[in-house]
């Protein structure tokens, strides 16, 4: 990215959950327009990293900069106004609200009625299945549809950076492919993506760069294609 400041930058980020030291000094950058993947085993600290960025957990030390602005101490409900949207682990759709109401909730911080309407149409064009189920209560959707809804809801905030936490979790392989091609499409249209995935194979396939986390530290990083070829990565995360 020579010279240009990255969109998102984490400097020596530490996070504690009580006595548990979850992140032990994470340094990470995401450049504008990139797809960056965080991979690693359970408990490595991938989700915690995302939660720290979105302000749901607070960093015990270190800095998070977005657009060269320090957002470390910004509360979660103000992070989205900066242009960061999160698609949380386990989707977390509003189960008793309709698909439309869920998407409208995504535009909660916005006041531009026209833009909201346009974005709603775009989301429904992108996910025709959500259009079919527009009046249906979100809790009755299938896992894949809920994931689409969670992504659609995040898109409604019109983010510059989208954080995705395990979008493939619990989905059939075919659906995983679909979700990942949607993520690539969203990225092509100008949204930067930071992706956390257990499914390292898929994550490395679509990413520009990737970081490998182990017990709260980054142990490897580099262009995704190169990482995918490395023996240790293959052994640990790609099944030989």
């Amino acid at each position: 990215m020579g010279g240009v400041a990255p969109l998102l930058q984490l400097d020596d980020l530490h996070v504690h959950y009580g006595a548990i030291w979850a992140l032990k000094g994470i340094n990470l950058t995401v450049g504008e327009g990139e797809i960056v993947s965080l991979i690693g085993a359970n408990g490595a600290g991938k989700s915690t990293t995302l939660r720290a960025i979105s302000g749901v957990v607070t960093a015990s030390s270190g800095r998070i900069c977005f657009h060269e602005e320090d957002i470390t101490k910004v509360p979660a409900h103000d992070i989205v106004k900066k242009g960061i949207a999160q698609v949380p682990e386990g989707r977390r759709v509003f189960a008793n609200l309709s698909v439309l109401e869920n998407l409208e909730m995504g535009a909660y911080i916005r006041r531009d009625t026209k833009g909201i309407k346009q974005d709603l149409e775009d989301v429904l064009d992108r996910f025709p299945r959500l259009r079919e189920r527009i009046g249906q209560v979100a809790g009755t959707l299938s896992g894949g549809e809920q994931q689409m809804l969670a992504i659609g809801r995040a898109l409604m905030t019109r983010p510059k950076l989208m954080l995705l936490d395990e979008p493939s979790m619990g989905l059939a392989p075919l659906l995983v492919k679909e979700i990942f091609s949607i993520i690539e499409e969203i990225n092509r249209e100008g949204t930067t993506i930071l992706l956390v995935e257990q499914n390292a194979r898929m994550a490395l396939q679509i990413a520009d760069r990737a970081y490998v986390l182990e017990t709260g530290r980054i142990v490897l990083d580099g262009p995704a294609k190169e990482l995918a070829r490395q023996e240790e990565v293959k052994k640990a995360y790609l099944g030989g």
Partner: protein, 323 residues
């Protein structure tokens, strides 16, 4: 054009005015007995209590058991304003609601960090504290209660209070604030990620609910003229909770219907007060088993509902004619 645009509001206003007049004529004409007039006023007070508790418990999903406490704060503040200070009733309403709202902020800010059971216990504790504290203040009569409160509550006062309270809650729920509260109830982490300040909305709903409970308290005090701290025990909160649960958590219509039904039931059970709470408990269990979502679930009955029903009926009539 203008008529068409406001046709719904006009219809509702006309229906309300008609209802108000009929009941007013019934009262002044002596068609409604004194006993049922009392129950009618209680019904109104209960509707305000149930709807405001529903705003907290049903729409925002915070399980509060402090309603009797807020009602007591409103009742005694209002009573002090009129009985002790000799000021007019509207001031008592304002002071009672304000005091209850302030109590709501004081209780809400620390306790709304708690979830589920813990919040229920904390708010329950608040209600008991209010009751015991009031019992030990001689200025408000101690355990024997505050006396000599002017009996200014009449049918118009009750009617207007109920309509305004319901209007306030309805407008709140239908606004973006209401959506924010629903999102908090559905999933507070996701709501936060959408930009909802969850603490603010939890406290806001709590404060509005508390202020309206305070209003109900002021009305109660100015109808009965004597209020005793022991009336505002946990049993009162439980009464209101049953109304909300039977009507449906998250349905304003449900709260109104629940309050009306249970006030009537309780009026008939006056002869056997020992069994009243037993029957209430049975009712709550039956509701939980057979219709856990309450009579209305989260649905509302609006003018559109009646129009739909009207359509079905006229459709049926049309078929009969065709046969």
């Amino acid at each position: 054009m203008i008529l068409k645009k406001y046709s719904t509001s006009i219809t509702i206003c006309l229906a309300l005015a008609l209802f108000f007049t009929i009941v007013q004529l019934g009262i002044s004409g002596g068609l409604i007995s004194g006993y049922w007039v009392t129950n009618l006023y209680l019904m109104g007070i209960n509707i305000i209590l149930a709807a405001s508790l529903n705003l907290i418990n049903g729409f925002t999903g915070e399980f509060s058991l402090g309603h009797a406490g807020f009602m007591a704060v409103g009742a005694f503040t209002g009573g002090i304003v009129t009985a002790n200070l000799g000021l007019p009733f509207p001031l008592a309403v304002a002071a009672g609601m304000l005091a209850a709202a302030i109590a709501g902020v004081i209780v809400g800010l620390p306790t709304l960090r708690l979830r589920g059971d813990y919040l229920a216990i904390a708010t329950l504790g608040f209600g008991e504290i209010v009751r015991v504290v009031l019992m030990n203040i001689d200025y408000v009569g101690g355990a024997s209660g505050l006396m000599g409160i002017p009996e200014v509550v009449s049918w118009p006062v009750i009617f207007i209070s109920v309509v305004l309270s319901l209007l306030l809650i309805r407008n709140f729920i239908c606004s973006s604030h209401g959506r924010a509260c629903l999102a908090v109830r559905e999933n507070d982490v996701a709501a936060q990620m959408m930009g909802v300040n969850i603490t603010y909305y939890k406290v806001l709903a709590f404060v509005i609910g508390a202020a309206l409970a305070g209003l109900a308290g002021v009305l109660y005090a100015h109808y009965y003229s004597i209020i005793q701290p022991k009336e505002f025990s946990f049993m009162l909160t439980f009464d209101v909770l049953v109304m909300v649960m039977v009507g449906g958590l998250g349905s304003l219509t449900g709260s109104v219907v629940g309050a009306v039904l249970l006030t009537i039931a309780s009026a008939f059970l006056q002869a056997i007060p020992e069994l009243r709470m037993v029957l209430y408990a049975v009712l709550l269990i039956a509701a939980a088993v057979f219709r856990p979502q309450g009579l209305f679930g989260e649905k509302e009955v609006t003018l559109q509902t009646f129009k739909r029903w009207g359509g079905v009926f006229s459709g049926l009539a049309g078929h009969k004619q065709a046969d």
